[in-house]
Symmetry: C2
Subunit: 237 residues, 2 copies
């Protein structure tokens, strides 16, 4: 095994192909991370221009998903990979789907940022949403980092943060509902904020999914739909 956890092959060309696929996933991840960072800044700073810029990168992310997917299919057909190589390819196919959906959610946040900036309503509840945004952005960064190093322990740690995102989401929605009840004039802008929080909660789920694929690749165990405690046993066992 190399330092990245990827197996070395007799065919140097095959190694290069796998390494290339891996680097493409990380480029796509970088692009999606930037979308998310910009969408959050647009939201917090009511920056309509930055929000629009996020929407403009959708095509690029989609094109990367389709082309990496196609490259994976070609490797499956041409190299007929087995064991760890096959797990890597299936992990990549799934990871890019979740990355593309993180991009979709970032675009939803950007849309809400534009909508909210135009409304110019009160933003007293923004502190929590900003903090939740940073929380899930760190999860995405950590998941991509675990993928880059194929580090199942790091992936486990990041996956374990998902309940924290869910809890923040629940608290924010309750707070927003109270806010709507206090003054019905707040309803439309509070609803936009609800959608942003929902998008962040989903981003946490997608980051956790990516961590599960890393664990699947490294440990050879499918850890979806099991508790974090059970997942911990698979990684440490």
């Amino acid at each position: 095994m190399s330092s990245t956890g990827l197996p070395q092959h007799i065919s140097k060309q095959f190694d290069n192909e796998l390494e290339y696929i891996r680097s493409r996933v990380l480029s796509m991840g970088g692009l999606v991370e930037k979308q998310l960072t910009d969408a959050l800044s647009a939201l917090m700073e009511s920056d309509i221009e930055l929000g629009s810029a996020v929407l403009d990168t959708e095509y690029e992310v989609n094109a990367m998903e389709v082309s990496i997917d196609e490259e994976c299919t070609q490797i499956l057909a041409r190299r007929q990979p087995a064991a760890g190589d096959l797990r890597l390819i299936t992990a990549v196919i799934k990871t890019i789907t979740d990355l593309e959906r993180i991009g979709d959610e970032a675009e939803r946040i950007a849309n809400m940022a534009i909508d909210l900036a135009e409304k110019q309503g009160p933003k007293s509840y923004y502190i929590d949403i900003g903090s939740m945004g940073n929380y899930v952005r760190n999860m995405v960064h950590g998941a991509l980092d675990a993928f880059a190093r194929m580090d199942s322990k790091a992936a486990l740690e990041i996956a374990g943060r998902d309940p924290g995102a869910d809890a923040q989401y629940g608290a924010i929605v309750r707070q927003l509902i109270t806010y709507m009840m206090e003054d019905p004039k707040n309803i439309t802008s509070a609803m936009d904020t609800v959608w942003s929080a929902r998008a962040m909660e989903r981003i946490g789920d997608h980051a956790r999914n990516i961590c599960e694929y890393v664990i699947y690749f490294v440990e050879g165990k499918d850890v979806r739909h099991i508790s974090l405690e059970e997942m911990e046993k698979e990684v440490k066992g």
Copy 2:
């Protein structure tokens, strides 16, 4: 090609394996369709017991996803499929992810049904949500039917219904916001209904995704992220 559009192999055993995978996807689809039907009934009829029954089948759906995925990986490793066979396997791997997520959304609707039944608020806006529920359930049924027959024209027709689901969703949310503004006492039950409508809108997206995988298998073209007009050219061209 057989009547299902699946290629025939010299190895009868391989044919059987592919046919088995296909039938397993359809069983999983049947289970998810039932979850959705029951969740919608629970919502419309305030049936807490039926709502709870939907939540109880989550494990079964998850287990099917994991086991079909594992069978696909084994076929990839053992049979080293190419061309149409490989497209079938990758289409199956993606289809079951979307089916599992349709199941997740059905569970969200079931949870909201339980919550709303306990609140016993006014339900004057239920006609539209019931009609949207039937609309997306028909999309799921149609997508599974297109998958069963590997019929790209049928898949195209079903995918074309997705904008209709999005439009219904937009109208329902606007109606619910008006309803919340009229009387803040309605906010919590209206929010539960918003979440149900959101879940339905996502179910429409997942049904469309499944149609795109059917088109990918039959036509050999990746039709994600393109307009319905472009998709039509790929299927009819």
